[in-house]
């Protein structure tokens, strides 16, 4: 908990200076992104730099909307992330329930270990196989290709974190429900699912946070605007005629909004997601 110790004035000043310094460093790139998105292109890379916008030009936002397919990219990103989160939850919640309530051979060392190990797999090393597998399945350059991949990224986190949520529901609750003559299945749907709803909602948000800005797989697996996601849309603005800084920054600002809301409102669940359900 809090330190209730007396702090010297010198320390208080040091802390204030240090935190303000860190905050200004942390905010500089974010401010630069916001600023770049609303100034004229000629003012973006100049020396000395403009620290605040001297001209206001919202052309970047208009152009990404009209010319560069931002509506497609936004819709695709939302759609792919939501579908991937749902798929991961559908597969992951039963597994989490099994891990929490049953005891069987190979549960920890076999199943749970293997599932978590995929969390650490660098996507680049599976890129070539995944590309050929998806080509064979016919899901390259489609919504489903990325849904399958992102659900795979989410799944280890979902299984481990949902297990920690289900662990917190006392067994006595489902047992007393079953003593009333209901089946285990009914107990799962009537007791476990409703009680873990807040956890499921948080998990859904964590999934969206995890895959929202994914770049490498999306870059390799999609090739046309109607199937691409936000990060790819932004990366495509680096062309032969130069880099469209304003538009990239506009993508950055618009793309950061939903995820920023998630990290602000679901902060304490985020920790749970990061630590596979162990830190609460």
């Amino acid at each position: 908990m809090e330190m209730v110790q007396r702090e010297s004035v010198g320390y208080k000043i040091f802390r204030a200076v240090f935190l303000l310094f860190m905050i200004s460093i942390f905010l500089l790139p974010i401010w630069w992104m916001v600023k770049t998105s609303i100034i004229q292109r000629v003012d973006t890379v100049i020396y000395p730099p403009q620290y605040y916008p001297k001209t206001l030009d919202l052309d970047g936002y208009v152009r990404v909307w009209k010319d560069h397919g931002l509506p497609y990219h936004y819709f695709n990103t939302v759609q792919i992330n939501i579908l991937a989160a749902i798929l991961a939850l559908l597969l992951g919640i039963p597994a989490a329930y099994a891990a929490s309530r049953y005891d069987f051979w190979g549960k920890e060392g076999g199943f749970m270990f293997t599932i978590l190990s995929t969390r650490f797999l660098p996507p680049a090393t599976a890129l070539v196989p995944i590309y050929f597998l998806y080509r064979w399945l016919g899901v390259v350059n489609s919504t489903w290709g990325l849904v399958i991949a992102y659900a795979g990224f989410n799944l280890p986190i979902v299984v481990w974190v949902m297990r920690s949520f289900i662990d917190e529901i006392p067994r006595a609750m489902e047992e007393s429900y079953m003593l009333d003559g209901h089946s285990r299945m009914a107990a799962f749907f009537k007791v476990i699912l409703p009680l873990s709803m807040p956890g499921i909602a948080a998990m859904f948000m964590i999934c969206n946070f995890l895959t929202w800005g994914e770049f490498l797989l999306a870059a390799v697996l999609t090739s046309t605007i109607p199937n691409q996601t936000l990060p790819i849309g932004a990366a495509q603005l680096v062309g032969d005629i130069g880099i469209l800084w304003q538009q990239i920054a506009a993508y950055g600002v618009l793309g950061a909004i939903p995820i920023t809301l998630i990290i602000i409102f679901f902060q304490r669940y985020l920790v749970r997601g990061f630590s596979f359900g162990i830190l609460k």
């Binding site: 209730v4 790139p29 660098p122």
Partner: protein, 325 residues
């Protein structure tokens, strides 16, 4: 502010009632629950098969198979070369270089993230005006899209128009422009800076979660004992946050091996492959040079490393879970 307090109260009550919950858990009469084991298998299989097929068996099998062939997507020809790809890779300065660069970038990024994350978290855990706002501002980088951050860092370190140059010049650190992206060492510094900028927040919130679980009575006792602040940190705070801190460091270490987006957007591996991480090297060989066998062999070597480290990480996580459960 209100949410903040509710959160604190909750962790407090959890900390104080832990003996009660443990007692309740010991009470559970569970034989009815563990009886039907086959049901447990049935429920865990879909998720297990999914990761097994899409993320382990297929990529692994494919990589092993292709690593013995010289398969070029350009000519669509395949030739058996035995261990040729492995020998080629392990004697290839570019590949060894990419592993080495990954280690350097990873080491410095991790060290900085840990130091800054720990400092910031310890300060945010103290009482002062505006700390809720400070905490919110300090986690904002997590909400941005990594590849777009790369382009923003490109502007910030743009040759002859860098805002960092301007600030350094104004402070009198340097004279004239700094060639950030043309110099190998400085380009690596830019890459490290981007990673530190984006992921220090991760460290902060992990460590804060650990700090908030330390009961206040510990500090009160330390004060009664007249323990110095330094001693309190080493004897109480650090041992209590050892788990979140180690876990956060291990996760970051593993994720740094994946480092790709920043390299792609800022340097494309340059200048002269000075910032080419393993992920970027495999991507370049596979999808720019279309040398599939080489990329597969390279991936497998990385997997061997990853599996050793992830074994340590997961074992650590599992023992910690058992202890907290």
């Amino acid at each position: 502010m209100k949410g903040q307090w509710r959160f604190r109260e909750k962790t407090m009550s959890i900390a104080n009632t832990s003996t009660v919950t443990r007692f309740l858990q010991d009470e559970k009469p569970a034989p009815a629950v563990v009886k039907k084991r086959s049901m447990g298998y049935l429920l865990i299989w879909p998720a297990f098969l999914y990761v097994m097929f899409f993320m382990i068996a297929y990529p692994f099998g494919y990589n092993i198979y292709q690593s013995f062939f010289e398969y070029s997507l350009l000519t669509n020809t395949s030739r058996f070369v035995g261990f040729g790809n492995y020998v080629g890779l392990l004697t290839n300065p570019d590949y060894l270089n990419s592993v080495w660069i990954g280690l350097i970038v990873g080491f410095f990024a991790l060290a900085l993230e840990t130091f800054l994350g720990l400092s910031i978290a310890l300060m945010l855990n103290q009482k002062f005006r505006g700390r809720v706002v400070a905490r919110m501002l300090l986690i904002l980088p997590l909400g941005t899209i990594p590849v777009i951050n790369g382009y923003i860092f490109n502007i910030i370190f743009f040759p002859d128009a860098s805002v960092v140059d301007h600030i350094f010049n104004a402070l009198g650190f340097v004279e004239g422009p700094i060639a950030w992206l043309q110099d190998p060492i400085k380009a690596r510094i830019v890459i490290i800076a981007m990673d530190v900028w984006q992921w220090t927040s991760f460290m902060v919130i992990m460590i804060l979660a650990g700090l908030s679980a330390i009961p206040e009575s510990f500090y009160e006792l330390a004060q009664l004992d007249n323990m110095s602040k330094w001693k309190t940190f080493w004897r109480i705070t650090l041992p209590k946050i050892r788990f979140p801190l180690t876990l956060a460091m291990l996760i970051r270490a593993m994720d740094l091996l994946k480092f790709f987006d920043g390299v792609y957007a800022i340097t494309q591996g340059g200048p002269q492959s000075a910032t080419e991480t393993v992920s970027f090297y495999i991507y370049r060989i596979g999808f720019k040079a279309f040398n599939i066998g080489y990329a597969s062999a390279g991936s497998l070597i990385v997997w061997a490393i990853i599996w050793v480290i992830s074994f340590i990480v997961i074992t650590y996580v599992m023992t910690a879970r058992e202890r907290t459960a």
